[in-house]
Symmetry: C2
Amino acid sequence: METKSTQEVAPSVVLTSNLVLEHWQGHRRLTRRVIELFPEEELFTYSVGGMRPFAQLAMEMIAMAVPGVSGALTGTWQYFDESDFGKADPKTKEELLQLWDKTTGIIDELWPQIPEARFQEVDLAFGQYEMPIHAVIYYFIDNEIHHRGQGYVYLRTLGIEPPGFWLRD
Amino acid sequence: METKSTQEVAPSVVLTSNLVLEHWQGHRRLTRRVIELFPEEELFTYSVGGMRPFAQLAMEMIAMAVPGVSGALTGTWQYFDESDFGKADPKTKEELLQLWDKTTGIIDELWPQIPEARFQEVDLAFGQYEMPIHAVIYYFIDNEIHHRGQGYVYLRTLGIEPPGFWLRD
């Protein structure tokens, strides 16, 4: 069985669990830079084309991250509850960054506990999205890249140079 | 050796080669919808915050895709040459979409030929970017999501509703 498994799966491995975590946290470090670059007021109020201010987009990322990793780990999917973090919706850039960093730590703590075979299992994420766990995780990552790209436009229209897309440290 | 390999790699597999191809082509189908939604003129001329029009962003994606997959396959990295496609820079939406679809077909043809162990090899992509092949490939995918997110802002400011981010068919 193990030999069969090696032939079927191992030869075409593109990403292992550790590599996905590293990839995501690299993106999250870049998103953190974008949050930092926004002026305090514009972070919470500035909009282009009627879209949400960047703080709201960042809160959407935060709202998906820990509940998503927790759901991947436990099979129990619960939307973000601010009380989990012991504070209300961030009102300042500093509070948002603290919430971001707290999220980073919890992801790092939970991720390695995700059972080995779990990524290929199909689950009903948040009682609504039926897909393999790898697709759930990549939805979070891709959604973050997507909204961060919108933040780049916000910054440009504010006359602020966004960070290089390749920066992940 | 095979048993050892199974224990070390297979248990934490998140994405196999086929899944990555499917993931990317799903994103490429969404990007194609965004190209289609732009009015003909605005596709080539409309800009927000001094950024490039969406046709130029789409051409950057095209310029990376086939040369990148070809480099992953062969180890030879050559930037896109319009003559490879037998036509000059697209001047109409229809020409751009034709180039997009041609790219789709070539990716589908080349991808399954990428040697099994290749994704973990470090290479000097385009003589400039030293990283494992999986990181090169994800750079293309992430760059596309990033710029497409910017295209969503362009569409919104033009009063056009972008496609749902979850649409990949």
